[in-house]
Amino acid sequence: MIVLNQVSKSYGGKIKAVDQIDLTVENGEIFGFLGPNGAGKTTTIKMITGILTPDSGAITLNGIDLGKDPLQAKKTFGYVPDDPNVFPRLKAMEYLQFMGNLYNVPSELRAGRIEEMAARFELKDALGDRIQSFSHGMRQKLMIIGALLHHPDVWILDEPMTGLDPRSSYQLKEMMRQHADSGRTVFFSTHVLDVAERVCDRVAVIDRGKILFCGTIAAMRNHFQSSDSLESMFLELVDRDPEKAAGLDGDLE
C-alpha cells in the first residue's frame, strides 16, 4: 500500500512540479499513473522511491514512513526506472547478483528466481553478456528482473512497457495481475492509455503537478457521461482550464 499525504515538490523554489497531492494506492490493485510529459509523474515516483525528498508532506509504504525509516521503506518496493541504461559495463548476471545481494535475497532462492524470470523474459541466453551489448528492450527486461528479484510487496514501475516486445509486455502484464491478485500493490506510470485501460484497476491523472482525477475508468466514464475511450477522456481532462480542472481534485468514486 502506498499513501501520499499532501506531498509537494518544487525545483529551484519556483517551478512546482508536484503540488500538494494526496494519493492512496490500496493493496490488491494495479494503479496506473497517467499524465502528459512534464506533468509530475516521474517526480512523484522519484519521491515515492526516495530518490527525491518532498518539500512537504509524507509518504508511507506498507505503513512505513519513508522520511522516518527510509531503509525499511525501501526494502518493501521494487523499482523499475524510466531509463534502463544502468551499469553498462557489468554483465547481466553480475547486475542481478548485485541486486540480489543488496536486497538480501537468500542464496537458495536467488538462483531459482533468476533462472525463472530470465526464462520468462527470454534473457537466459544473454546473462553472461555485458549490459552495454543489450538492446533497449533487453535492458528494460533486466531492470524488471532486478527489481522483482526480492519479491517486493510494492511494485513501482516507471514506463515499464517501453521497448518491450509483445511477448514480454504480455508477460509483464500477467505478472502485474498475479501480483495484485495476491493482495499486493502495483503502481505504474504509462503513456500508453490502451494498456492503462486494459490493465489498471484504478488510475490517477496528473497535470501541472496536480491530480486531476483519481478513480476507476468506469467512474471516469460516469463523470464524463461518456462511452468514449480513456484517450478522449484523458485529452479532455488535461486540455481543460487548470482553474476548472483543479475543481476535479480527489477521488470521484
Binding site: 531503509l71 544502468v86 559495463r89 547478483q97 536486497y103
Partner: protein, 558 residues
C-alpha cells in the same frame, strides 16, 4: 564551409574545450574553471620549462661546434613524429569513437564537412601540444642565436602549419584502416590499448631523457647529432613538409625563409584537399555500423547461477561493482587504476636508467640504520607513510566516486543500504586500489632497504590507516560538488576539479607527518605512534562527519 564552422563550434562546446566544467551551478562552475585553468597553466609551465631547459642544454653543447641548427631539426622532427603518433590516437577517438558520430550521421552533411570540422577539433588538441613542444626551443634558439624579429614571425607560421601534414597523414591512414580492417573497431579495447601505448611512450621518453644524463661532452654531442639526423631523415621522408619547416627556420635570409613557408603552405593545402577527398570516398563506409555493439550471447549455466548466488556483505558487493566498472571503463582504468601503478614505475625508471647507480643506491639504502630505531629509521618511516598518502591521494578514486556515477546517482538513493555504508564502500574501493600501488612501492623499498623483520611489520602496520584516511578525505569534495552532468566519462575524472582537491588533504597530511617527525626530531617509536595513531584518529573523526553529512548532502542532489 558554413557547416564546417558550425560543426566545429558545436563539437568544441561538447568536448569541453570551451566549457571546462559541466556543472550548472554558477559558483561551482567558476571554481571548476579557475581550478582547471590553474592546473592546466601549471602543467603547461612545467612542461614548457622542461623543454626549454632541455633545449638550452642542447644548444650549449652544439653551439661550440657550430651545429646549433641541429636543435631546430631535432625539435621539429620530434614534434612532427609525436603529432603523427598522437594524431592516430586522436583521429580514431574523435572521428570514429566520439559519441557525436551517431548524432551526425543522420544529418544531411557531407563527409567532407564532418571530417573538416573534426580535423579542426583534432588540430586544436595538437596545437596545444605543438606549442609546448616547439615554442620553448624556438625562443631559446632565437634568443641565444640572436635571431632577428622575422625569425619569430616565421616561427609562428611554422607553428601553425607544422601539425597539419602529420595530422592529415594520420587521418588518411586511419580512415583507410577503418574502411578495410576491423582493427580498432572495438571502442573499449582501443581506448585501453592506446592509453597504455601512450603511457609506454611517455615512460620511454622519460627513460631516454634519464639515459641522456649518463653521456658527457663529445659523446653526448655525437649522440644528439646522430639522433637528430635519424629523426630528421625519418620525419622528412614520411612528412615532406618537415624539410621546408626546418629550412624556413634556419634560412639566413627572410626572403628565402618565406619562400620555404610558401612551399609548406602549398603542400599543406594539397594534403588537406587529398584528406577531404579520401574522407569523401571512405569515411561513411568505415564509420557506419561502428556504434552497433556486438555480443557473443553467452548463456549462463544453472551451476554458475547457483555458485554466484552466494550472499555477501553489502560493502563487498558495492566495492566489487565499483572495482569492475573502474577496471572495465577505459577512461577510469587509465586515470584511476593505472595511476596507482604508475608511481612505482616512475620511481623505478630513473633508478634503472642510471645503470651502475642502482647498486650505489642499494648500498646507500642498506647503510641506513633502521634497526637502531633512531632518527633515520623514523624519517624513512615517515617518508614511506608520505608516499602512501601521495599514491592514494593521486588515484582520484574516492574524490570522483560520485561524479563517476553521473546520472546513475539516483541508483544510490533507492537502494536499501544506508548512505554512509554506500559511501564507505566507495572510500574502501579507493583505499584498495591505493593499497595495490603502495604495496608495489613497498616491495621496491624492501628490495633497496632490506630492513629487519620488525621494521617491515611496523611499516605494514602504519600504512593501512594512512591509505584509508587519504581515500576518505577525497569523498567529501565529491559529496559537496559532484560532477554528475557528463556525456563522456572523461569529464567525470579528467575534467573534475574534485580530483585535484582530493589530492590536497593527503599531501598536507604527508607534509604534516614528515614535518613533525623531522621538526620534532622524533626517534622511531614516537614517529611510529604518530604515523599509526594520527591517521586512525582522523578516520574516526571522518567517519562521524560522514555519518552526519551523508544524508543531507546526498538528498540535496536532485
Amino acid at each position: 564551409m558554413r557547416h564546417v564552422f558550425l560543426l566545429t563550434w558545436t563539437m568544441m562546446r561538447g568536448n569541453g574545450l570551451m566549457n571546462l566544467s559541466g556543472d550548472n551551478r554558477k559558483k561551482r562552475k567558476l571554481l571548476g574553471k579557475v581550478g582547471n585553468t590553474i592546473l592546466m597553466l601549471l602543467v603547461a609551465v612545467y612542461f614548457g620549462g622542461l623543454v626549454a631547459a632541455g633545449a638550452h642544454f642542447i644548444y650549449g653543447l652544439l653551439a661550440p661546434a657550430g651545429l646549433q641548427d641541429l636543435l631546430i631539426s631535432l625539435f621539429v622532427s620530434a614534434t612532427v613524429l609525436m603529432v603523427f603518433f598522437f594524431g592516430v590516437l586522436y583521429v580514431i577517438s574523435i572521428f570514429y569513437h566520439s559519441s557525436d558520430v551517431e548524432k551526425l550521421l543522420p544529418l544531411p552533411l557531407t563527409p567532407e564537412s564532418i571530417i573538416g570540422a573534426k580535423l579542426i577539433v583534432t588540430a586544436v588538441y595538437e596545437y596545444v601540444f605543438v606549442t609546448l613542444m616547439i615554442l620553448p626551443p624556438l625562443i631559446v634558439y632565437g634568443v641565444l642565436d640572436r635571431q632577428p624579429w622575422t625569425f619569430y614571425l616565421i616561427s609562428l607560421l611554422v607553428l601553425l602549419l607544422l601539425p597539419l601534414i602529420p595530422l592529415c597523414t594520420a587521418a588518411v591512414l586511419v580512415m583507410l584502416i577503418m574502411r578495410l580492417t576491423p582493427v580498432a573497431r572495438n571502442k573499449d579495447r582501443f581506448s585501453m590499448v592506446s592509453g597504455l601505448l601512450s603511457m609506454v611512450v611517455a615512460i620511454g621518453i622519460m627513460y631516454g631523457m634519464q639515459s641522456l644524463g649518463s653521456f658527457f661532452g663529445d659523446a653526448l654531442t655525437r649522440m644528439i647529432q646522430t639522433g637528430s639526423d635519424r629523426l630528421a631523415s625519418v620525419a622528412a621522408s614520411v612528412f615532406p613538409g618537415t624539410r621546408f619547416a626546418v629550412a624556413a627556420l634556419t634560412s639566413p635570409s627572410a626572403g628565402a625563409a618565406l619562400l620555404q613557408i610558401l612551399l609548406l603552405i602549398l603542400l599543406t593545402a594539397a594534403i588537406l584537399v587529398l584528406t577531404l577527398g579520401v574522407a569523401r570516398l571512405v569515411y561513411f563506409k568505415g564509420v557506419i555500423g561502428l556504434s552497433a555493439s556486438t555480443a557473443r550471447r553467452r548463456a549462463v549455466t544453472t551451476d554458475t547461477v547457483r555458485r554466484s548466488s552466494r550472499q555477501q556483505s553489502s560493502i563487498i558487493v558495492l566495492m566489487r561493482k565499483d572495482l569492475l566498472i573502474l577496471i572495465r571503463t577505459p577512461i577510469f582504468f587509465m586515470n584511476n587504476v593505472l595511476m596507482n601503478l604508475i608511481w612505482p614505475v616512475f620511481f623505478l625508471v630513473p633508478l634503472i636508467s642510471t645503470g651502475d647507480g642502482l647498486a650505489d643506491i642499494r648500498q646507500m639504502a642498506q647503510s641506513l640504520d633502521l634497526a637502531g630505531g633512531g632518527r633515520t629509521a623514523a624519517i624513512v618511516l615517515a617518508v614511506c607513510v608520505a608516499a602512501a598518502c601521495f599514491i592514494t591521494g593521486t588515484n582520484g578514486i574516492s574524490s570522483s566516486a560520485l561524479s563517476r556515477e553521473g546520472k546513475l546517482i539516483y541508483f544510490m538513493k533507492y537502494l536499501p543500504v544506508s548512505y554512509t555504508r554506500q559511501l564507505w564502500a566507495k572510500v574502501l574501493t579507493g583505499a584498495a586500489m591505493g593499497m595495490v600501488g603502495v604495496l608495489l612501492l613497498f616491495l621496491i623499498a624492501l628490495f633497496f632497504l632490506r630492513p629487519v623483520w620488525w621494521y617491515t611489520l611496523l611499516l605494514l602496520a602504519v600504512l593501512p590507516g594512512t591509505i584509508l584516511v587519504s581515500s576518505l578525505s577525497g569523498i567529501y569534495f565529491d559529496l559537496l560538488w559532484p560532477k554528475l552532468n557528463w556525456d563522456n566519462e572523461q569529464k567525470a575524472v579528467k575534467q573534475n576539479v574534485n580530483v585535484l582537491f582530493g589530492m590536497l588533504v593527503p599531501i598536507l597530511l604527508a607534509g604534516l607527518m614528515l614535518g613533525l617527525v623531522i621538526g620534532l626530531e622524533l626517534t622511531l617509536m614516537p614517529a611510529a605512534l604518530l604515523t599509526l595513531l594520527l591517521p586512525w584518529l582522523l578516520v574516526l573523526v571522518g567517519h562521524q562527519l560522514l555519518r552526519k553529512v551523508a544524508r543531507p548532502l546526498l538528498e540535496q542532489i536532485q
